[in-house]
């Protein structure tokens, strides 16, 4: 991992189009940073992104369409729905 020391107001540039600006340090523990990136580059807090990523993986996949087909078949035939873990 690359580790850099930066002062407030200084900038880190990644490629030609991403700028990270150190804006403030509060209580010696909280760093406020500004991020400028292209609109198609998602920028998220890691812990939140990880939660959404896990949920998408749980919710998504080939089983999603199978489930929907099963529901549709059952609703048209009056059968019962299989449950997934």
């Amino acid at each position: 991992m690359l580790v850099l020391r930066r002062k407030i107001g200084q900038v880190i540039r990644i490629n030609d189009d991403i700028r990270i600006i150190i804006q403030d340090v509060q209580n010696e523990h909280i760093v406020r940073i500004g991020i400028e990136a292209p609109k198609d580059v998602p920028v998220h807090r890691l812990e939140i992104y990880n939660l959404i990523q896990q949920e998408n993986r749980s919710a998504g996949g080939a089983d999603a369409l199978k489930w929907l087909k099963g529901v549709s078949d059952d609703s048209s035939s009056g059968g019962t729905e299989e449950h997934h873990d």
């Binding site: 369409l65 489930w67 997934h84």
Partner: protein, 146 residues
Amino acid sequence: MTAVQAVQKSIMTEAEPDHGGAFHFPQGMAGFSDACDYGFIYQGHGDIVCIQSTDHPEAAFLLTQWDEQRLGSVPTLPVELCQCIHANNQEQIMWMLVLNPFADHAWVTANVKAPVALNIEARMGLQYIRQERELDIRYHWQRQPS
């Protein structure tokens, strides 16, 4: 016309993903960032549709429309993300929820924290991770079909 009816009318097929009319998700979906183009599949079951990546078929999600009666007003998409899906204003955006039928035996859950914004006209979409802290990732949406 409801949101889902509008979607059904404009973007769905009944059996296979509509590759020709694929929706482009510039950011992909969280955890599936390489899957950026999705076709819509409607199986004829209520308000639930399936989106499936046209080149990464393992990326498939169930979506349903945002329900203002239950959830309140639709989210407001930040301007820079509106630009990302070529939306000039909030009215152009159709909000959908990602459903998870596998997380709970009794309930199909909905991810209110990270809904999907669609610009049907531009055929673009994105998953918007909302900043508010008190939002359910597994909101009890509907009982499992029985």
